[in-house]
Amino acid sequence: MIEATAKHTTGYGLQTTSWRKRRSVVFFRTLFRPLQGKVGAIIIVLMIAIALAAPLVAPYDPLKPAYQVRLNGPSASHLMGTDETGRDVFSRVLFGSRISLRVGIIAVAIALAIGVTVGLISGYYRGIVDTLIMRFVDILQAFPGFLLALSIIAMLGPNLRNAMIAVGIGSAAGFARLVRGSVLSIRETDYVMAARVVGAPSRLIMRRHVLPNALSPIIVLATLELPAAILVAASLSFLGLGAQPPSPEWGAMLVDGHNYIQTAWWLITFPGIAIFITVLGFNLFGNALQDALNPRLRQR
């Protein structure tokens, strides 16, 4: 009977939950959830280590062609095979981590710089400034994200630097909206009121009192935007609008692989795995951070 009822209950802690189920609940709550964050953190640390150590670890020059070994499959001398000009795919994947991490970090930094500043001003000053900024944010968010990045690239021209700017501007609207929401409630608190009463200038209040208290959702969003930025930048490079050949950017490497899909499976496999694992690591870490900072989500 208990087993039968347990089938119909999904709530945590209901008395009808069977012993076996309760054991699995304990497992998932105490082991799996924290494990997610740890796995994510390990992947991120590993990726950073690889990016930093790439010149020391990479067995070959990632840009130097070696036509005598072109399109060779994975072997002991070339762990991930070679591409159409004989370059070592393993070395290129290692060096690619530098580009992808840099792109992700710079794009999010641009989004943070624009989004946080605009959100702070909008939420703190309110009035006509807030209305104008938020209507502009509404318009930006009315574009599907990738389309906005494409439009910015169309204006600036296709290269990796502009791809980072495009991804950064494309994500800034989300940060602006988030920061504004937090600031609206923080500006009404007693400590902000007290700072205003003693005559502290607005810029000081925003920097010292408002921003530090709005930080935790910003950090979570930044952690979740970073993998998204890496994905969009890789997509732009794949379309020929970001990193240009012979750059060992993972998205650009997949374009080359695309042309040899019938003969060289390794060219479309390893750069893709590298993007997938990096993005997965940041997503796992971001989710764990969100869970940790949001008790409501922890219950799920």
Binding site: S24, F28, S151, G157, S235, F238, F276
Partner: protein
Amino acid sequence: MLIPIWFGILILVFMMRVLVPGDPIQLMFAGQYNDPVVEAQMRHKFGLDKPLTTQFVEYVEGVAHGDLGFSITSQQPVTKLIEAHYPYTVVLTLTSLSIAIVIGIVTGIIAALRKDTVIDLISMIFALAGLSMPAFWLGLLLIYVFAVDLHWFPVLGAMSPKGLVLPSITLGVIASAVIARLVRSTMIDVLNEDYIRTARAKGIVETRVVVQHALRNALIPIVTIIGLQFGGLLSGAFIVEVVFAWHGIGELAITALQHRDFPLIQGIVLVVATTYVLVNLAVDVLYAVIDRRIIYS
């Protein structure tokens, strides 16, 4: 709210050509016209010699009459090019959306019903993998396995129902990950409500409890995310169309971007953004259909 936002989009799209760093004629023709006389003629042809306000008024009039200008590379009206390619993108997006909705809702419901079990874990790993997977990579893998290796589907560029299968799965599976996560968390909340306990206590069959009582009450956030995913799918179609050589608007846009064909880029951005705004409007209308308590004044 819809009309001011659409007008804002129109202004931004118009400003694309104006805000370009450098001279648009030089950029578009990549230095083909070094003769100042020819350059002046081109400037006149594209209306760039007129004051900005006049250019904007003419642009708005053109849009109102369905005239989005001439493509520089193909020398055809932008509207004609979009008309020829957009239906393919719409078909791809709608097919992918259907796949995403079915996989996302079913996975999300199962994960919610079997919360904190191995099934839940597998579903959520699937969702996380979907979120982390680049669409173009999944597309390449599907081509390799199902077209190159197994020969079940055409490798590239087949504008047929069979050619639609792999690109739709690529886009649909990735979009389903986001839907599955939201359906799971919303269903967990709803399944803990008192009315669900009451329904179960009354002895109503579990399927009916889940579909009629729980899912119906979880529909609003689900419909919202599906609406947002439509935008994601439209964007994703730009990439997947290139991977599969599907001759939709995405492929057209990328070619236009590579040649800095501004009239065509502007036309495509305007049409896709307008579609997205209209889909969001449809979602708002759907809220009132799903929940009769919502009344728009």
